[in-house]
Amino acid sequence: MLGRLMQSEAVWLFSRSPAAILAAIAAVTIVLGALFAPWIAPTDPYDLSSFSLIDGLLPPVWEDGGDPRFLLGTDDQGRDMFSSILYGARLSLAIAAMAMAIALVLGVGLGLAAGYYGGRFDAVVMRIADVQLALPAILTALLIDGISRGILPRDMHDDLRLGVITVAIALSLWVNFARTARASVFVERNKDYVQAAIMMGQHPLRIMARHILPNILGPLLVIATVDLASAILLEATLSFLGVGLPADSPSLGTLIRIGMQYLLSGEWWILWIPTLFLVVLVVAINLLGDFLRDLFNPSLR
């Protein structure tokens, strides 16, 4: 019932917010494009035999020298930019969503427990969070990369990068969730419904999961949205710093990193089209985050 009311409230507010509507349209379009990339994209950028170096560096169709086969032109390998971007967005979103999900589970779990138990456990978790905050994401990425290479068998390294970058991003995002969850739990814990549950002798896990968690979802949802955007940007930055995804299965961030080489050379589309996609996607997600924030209207940090 509450859900329904929230929804109707949400729908109403939504219908009155042109920014949110635009953002939703943009986000949904890109997400759908990414989801159905294999069916929409004219070529499969992962299939090495599907493109040829001979088609390299062709401009978009509306430019002189454009080839109708390649709507948004081709990159230095002769890969169709449009297909690359769809697949790249797919990968970026997958990484961001996975990272966000890991961060959410980890952060919310630790934050809940820290807030609920307080005391020493709380102090330990929060100090770990401090340590985590002290580590720039690129460091985390390098560390994870190093460790996984140290621990995992050699032949798994190839498939590792996706995991490494996902975990690295997740690790640099979880603190946000943990802090928010913890702060919310501090508020909720002293509310009578939690006290009632404690008094009745319910299991702490059940109290956290069934009672507290549903009540702090609002702020967490907002964080999740904002972090989804951060994760996409972080992935791009990590790519720029050289710990991102390989160029043969590029994410949006990797595409931009590759495109950076063509900033001056005249092949503007290799950089700016993926960048535009990324920015539209991130802005849209952020706008939706803003909208959610207004919807829940908590005093968030």
Binding site: R127, A134, L135, I138, L143, T237, F240, L241, S299, L300
Partner: protein, 324 residues
């Protein structure tokens, strides 16, 4: 309160130890320094000898203990790559990073706070909405793209500002500052903007949210009800109450600025610690990486403590305890 500070100090020590452990242990996994230190024709025996000399064959904990012990004595070891003492290397790079971070922070504050206040007081205004959208787009473009864009716009096309480095520096003791020369200031503009943009947006949004919140509190309503001038309500009562939570976040973010300056420094060839760190990664200069990490963590800890103290200074509820 002293007890509180003491407690934080003890916790800080633990944080530092944990970071030291991470710094040390994790980089043990990244690359092999020996192959980076030696040339192509160095024989396998020579490589082994060097490995032994550097103590790289010792048990893990022996190495860690040595690492921590040396560091406590102020001996940060030597770079594998340049053989320089790392303490000195970092110290010589520290001013650049701190100055850049500070300027970025100041920009973000002097633009972010007024913008936050403005957008909080006129949430529906056209200007507010424009500011919000513009900053949103600003933070949605990857930092490195913004940096390079600024360079090419203001450095290459318009030729107004330097594209790299810190410009002229002035030495004050060991501190080499570029804040005392015109060229130094000009050099700061682009990197500080790049670095500060994210901060700026964050500050603005935070101030805005807090301010809107505070404007709804009882004491503001009471101040309105007794006809206190609007200016005073907004900028004296509301703003000061807004700043309390904002300060924590800004304080913590300053640590983030320092850490995040890696990207900016690399784009602008800014000779700070971040650049040094990136180079160390490139050359698997493990000792430098580890020490950098510890230094960054140290900053966080110090900043955390400073924020606590700052709280104490501005919030009388923490400072003045006796009742009257």
């Amino acid at each position: 309160m002293v007890a509180f500070i003491l407690k934080r100090l003890v916790q800080s020590v633990f944080v530092m130890l944990a970071v030291a452990f991470l710094a040390f242990s994790l980089f043990k996994f990244v690359g092999d320094p020996i192959s980076q230190m030696t040339g192509v024709e160095t024989s396998i025996e020579d490589q082994e000898r060097l490995r032994e000399e550097l103590g790289l064959n010792d048990p893990f904990f022996v190495q860690f203990a040595r690492f921590t012990g040396d560091m406590l004595q102020g001996d940060f070891g030597y770079s594998f790559r340049t053989r320089e003492p790392i303490g000195e290397m970092l110290l010589s790079r520290l001013p650049a990073t701190l100055e850049l971070g500070t300027v970025a922070l100041v920009i973000s504050l002097i633009v972010g706070i007024p913008a936050g206040v403005y957008t909080a007081l006129r949430p529906r205004g056209l200007v507010s909405q424009s500011i919000l959208i513009a900053t949103l787009i600003g933070v949605s473009i990857p930092t490195f793209v913004i940096g390079i864009l600024l360079i090419f716009l203001f450095g290459v096309q318009l030729g107004w500002l330097p594209t790299y480095g810190r410009g002229g520096t002035v030495e004050i003791g060991w501190w080499r500052s570029s804040l005392f020369t015109v060229e130094g200031w000009r050099s700061h503009v682009l990197p500080a903007l790049t670095l500060g943009l994210f901060q700026l947006t964050l500050t603005m949004r935070l101030v805005r949210a807090q301010m809107m919140e505070v404007m709804r509190t009882d004491h503001i309503r009471f101040a309105i009800a007794r006809g206190v001038p609007w200016r005073s309500i907004r900028y004296r009562h509301a703003l000061s109450n807004t700043m309390i939570p904002v300060i924590t976040v800004i304080g913590l973010q300053f640590g983030g600025v320092i850490a995040f300056s890696i990207v900016t420094e690399s784009v602008f060839q800014w000779p700070g610690m971040g650049l040094l760190f990136l180079e160390s990664i490139r050359f698997v200069d493990i000792p430098v990486m580890s020490v950098y990490l510890v230094v960054i963590a140290f900053f966080f800890v110090i900043i955390n403590l400073l924020v606590d103290l700052l709280y104490l200074a501005i919030d009388p509820r923490l400072r003045v305890r006796e009742s009257v």
